[in-house]
């Protein structure tokens, strides 16, 4: 009984300390951000790595999610005889919720794992120690540009996801199911407000910070072995996904 209690206490203490380490690391990155932005070329490279290289998967997923939304939305709205509201339903669903969340989950899987494994391998092959020995701070030179690249890329990807998603919903709803094109767009324009778009933008920015921070934290602190790098990559996906869904609930509750 005593042992069980001790193990539980140890587990709780470990969890609190890892949350603390995450918070300190992210805090340091945010504090260093102005300095990081000065080396803009490095950041642009990472926006390309995290953003442009994730574009195809984001666009494809956006299209399919939008098309499913079109089908399900049409099926549901038809029961109430209001299928012309499909545009509104799809747009609100995508812009406020699915765009930021699904993009963040895909981002964690594509760009997050790439970041974590790259940093983990740099640790395992002494590249980070070599920088330390060259009096170059690896957090500033390597981690910060990658973090900022992810933070900048994420809202852009979410916007592209939502845009392609709406196109997908339109493709199914209007072209296949015969919803009136004028109604589809005009109802959407009438119902979707600036605040709805901003909700999505804020969410995607927060998710961008969270996913990038998790990826660089896990990669930078990876155990420098093949197994350690693998574990860091897995943890990146698991922690990012849980954090994104948790933050999504909290942000939705606050902003509704």
């Amino acid at each position: 009984m005593n042992r069980l209690l001790r193990e539980l206490l140890d587990g709780a203490r470990d969890s609190v300390s890892s949350v603390g380490r995450y918070a300190l690391f992210t805090g340091r990155l945010l504090l260093e951000t102005p300095r990081g932005l000065l080396r803009f070329r490095l950041v642009v490279e990472q926006v390309y790595n995290a953003g442009a290289l994730s574009l195809v998967i984001i666009m494809l997923s956006g299209l399919f999610v939008g098309m499913v939304l079109g089908l399900q939305g049409f099926d549901l709205l038809e029961r109430f005889g209001s299928e012309e509201s499909l545009g509104t339903a799809a747009a609100l669903g995508l812009v406020k919720e699915l765009g930021p969340v699904v993009t963040a989950l895909l981002f964690a899987g594509r760009a997050g794992t790439a970041l974590a494994s790259e940093l983990g391998l740099m640790r395992a092959t002494d590249q980070l120690s070599a920088m330390e020995m060259m009096a170059v701070d690896p957090v500033r030179r390597v981690v910060l540009p990658r973090f900022l690249g992810g933070v900048i890329a994420m809202p852009l990807l979410a916007a592209i996801f939502s845009m392609i998603g709406i196109f997908g919903a339109q493709l199914v709803g209007v072209q296949m199911m015969g919803v009136d094109q004028g109604q589809f767009w005009s109802q959407m324009r009438g119902a979707v407000e600036h605040g709805d778009v901003m909700e999505g933008v804020i969410k995607s920015c927060v998710f961008g910070v969270a996913c990038s921070a998790v990826a660089v934290f896990e990669g930078y602190h990876a155990v420098p072995t093949a197994e350690g790098v693998g574990r860091a990559t897995t943890r990146t996906v698991v922690v990012s996904s849980v954090v994104v869904l948790l933050l999504d609930y909290m942000l939705t509750a606050v902003m509704l």
Binding site: M122, T125, S129, A130, M133, M134, A135
Partner: protein, 279 residues
């Protein structure tokens, strides 16, 4: 005494690195106890010892990547453990280090790898950076490989590029961590020659951590043999070969059994074979 006076005073000191009474332990396991070691200015000093004796740990202490529990680690008269982060970075800018596998930055080509410290620490015009990088690459014989990526290099070439990078800021101290591991005889000969030539031509102090006795004997002026957390022998490498100590002789001649036993500590062989429980 001001820092400047200390620096001037230190420059006359024949020892660049002075370690006294060093104690260091990790997770309750003692790595060093009462270690004393001097590295003479302008020399090639070898630090040898069986695997796990803390040779690399000693380098970490000298370069400020770890802090000792007790004792002194002084570089040019300055106690490394007293330095703040800025001070440690200033100290490291006077040092170059060659890692075991080269530790080249995999996303940059050879040229950019060598130029990396210059770009991070100086604002030299591109033409000057180019001249310096090509000079250093020429010194290691790889000017022609400037455009290759690290994954296109052999192990020996990667180490030579890392060496060019280590000397690009004209360091006063050059540290080699296991520079001979995994090299073919030709690359090994090249690295050996470079260690000696760079040391003499640039007038720097070199520290080579290795357990390759034959190679070290060929290149070092002075050698320290570490075992069990202390220095068991020191002096010119040729002298160590003739040592009377069984411990030193076992290491220098590569004998499989001796003071360092062939067998890892285990219960009695016969008893264990006849016993039922799994080891």
């Amino acid at each position: 005494m001001s820092a400047t006076e200390r620096r001037h005073g230190a420059a006359d000191d024949p020892c660049v690195i002075r370690v006294r009474g060093l104690d260091y332990s990790v997770g309750g396991r003692s790595i060093f106890s009462g270690l004393d070691l001097d590295v003479a200015r302008g020399s090639v000093t070898a630090i040898m010892g069986p695997s796990g004796t803390g040779k690399t740990t000693l380098l970490r202490l000298i370069t400020g990547q770890a802090t000792q529990d007790a004792g002194e680690v002084r570089v040019d008269g300055v106690e490394v453990s007293q330095l703040d982060r800025k001070g440690i970075y200033a100290l490291r800018r006077r040092m170059g280090m060659l890692f075991q596998n080269g530790a080249l930055l995999t996303d940059l080509d050879v040229y950019e790898n060598v130029a990396f410290p210059l770009r991070e620490h100086t604002r030299l015009p591109e033409s000057l950076v180019r001249n310096i990088v090509l000079t250093k690459l020429q010194a290691v014989g790889l000017r022609g490989a400037a455009e290759l990526m690290p994954h296109e290099l052999s192990g020996g070439m990667a180490r030579r590029v890392a060496l060019a990078r280590a000397i690009v800021m004209d360091p006063e101290i050059l540290i080699y961590d296991e520079p001979f591991v995994g090299l073919d005889p030709i690359s090994l000969g090249v690295v050996l020659r470079l260690i000696r030539e760079l040391n003499d031509a640039l007038g720097i102090t070199s520290i080579v951590v290795s357990h390759d006795v034959r190679e070290i004997t060929a290149v070092a002026d002075e050698a320290y043999l570490l075992s069990g957390g202390r220095v068991v022998a020191s002096g010119p490498p040729a002298g160590l070969l003739e040592s009377d100590s069984a411990e030193v002789r076992q290491f220098m001649k590569g004998l499989p059994d001796g003071p360092v036993p062939f067998h890892y500590p285990a219960p009695d062989y016969a008893e264990q074979l006849l016993g039922k429980e799994r080891p």
